[in-house]
Amino acid sequence: MQRIDAIREIAQKAGQDDALLVCNIGIPCKELYSVCDTPGNFYMLGSMGLASSIGLGLALSLPRRKIIAIDGDGSVLMNLGSLATIATQAPENYLLVIIDNGSYGSTGDQPTATSKGADLSKVAMGAGNRRVCRADSHEELKHILQDNDHGIIVVKVNPGNADAPNINMCPGDILRRFMTGSYQPSD
């Protein structure tokens, strides 16, 4: 499975659940933009490492809205403390999906520590998160997404980027569009 396949599954779940979707910096944002651009997507263009934190702040502030954040292995490794903070708060409307391709895909596919044995699902559990799932195939990801609305999912994918177009919006417009609809509770 490639990362864009996982992103497509997550975007589909966000659409079905009327969830807000925060997406990690770099090519993952472009891949999400290419498969499903909606006002409920927040494309994080800078601040590497903070997608899971932004998602947590949203989930705590909007308890009646479902929130999903897409993060990456390199980014999570940059902000491991976030996994502990998420465990202390454990909002039931927050699903964090870490797409682990073992590489810094947006900067030339340098290997990350997960390609050498670091296991982010065990790190997430060790940080105190009670609901952590790991998906190693497309089918497993589909089933786990069907069965889980909160907690943390670590999905293993192959390295490599899709040929996705640039996001044709300025940061201020991304934020305004997102916030226009974000106060409504999920159906």
């Binding site: 925060v22 927040f42 994080m44 263009l45 800078g46 601040s47 590497m48 490492g49 903070l50 997608a51 899971s52 934190s53 932004i54 998602g55 947590l56 702040g57 949203l58 989930a59 705590l60 502030s61 909007l62 809205r65 902000n79 403390g81 976030s82 502990a84 903070t85 202390t88 708060q89 940061p171 201020g172 991304i174 934020l175 997102f178 916030m179 974000s182 106060y183």
Partner: protein, 172 residues
Amino acid sequence: MVKPLPVDGTSSEAVYQGMKRAGIDFVVSVPCLNLKEVIQMVHRDPDIIHVPVTREEEGVGVCAGAYMGGRRPAMLMQNSGLGNSVNALASLNQLYGIPLVMIMSHRGVEGEPICAQVPMGELTTQLLEILEIPYFLPDSKADAIEKIQVAWKTALEGKKPSAVLLPIPFWR
């Protein structure tokens, strides 16, 4: 309802009252000894969501999400954490136009007993200036109540972070 400040109110009560009057309803914190009582007041307040975080940069992200969810966020922190937050303040808050008030215990200045606090203590205002973050320097408890409200208004209207610096003498 916001209660009036007691005549003999402490510095911590003044900071808390400033936050309440500014309408702050979401607070992340990284501790400093000087912030101990403010953090307890915030934690006990049922109208404030309090999230202790592991690092200030993480707190910037959590606060950004809170603002996007309709809240008025503030971060209680030591000035040393400004250095941990620089990229996020620039490439998240400044880039998108996201307000945040950083209420900082300003260490490394007059009265500082720990030499390791001095380098960041002396760099703090220069860092804020280069980041184009407006900052406020209350000169009394009553002024802190006022300046925290002005700091939030400045952040909201300017769509950017602002800071309130509370040095060691303020807490005595």
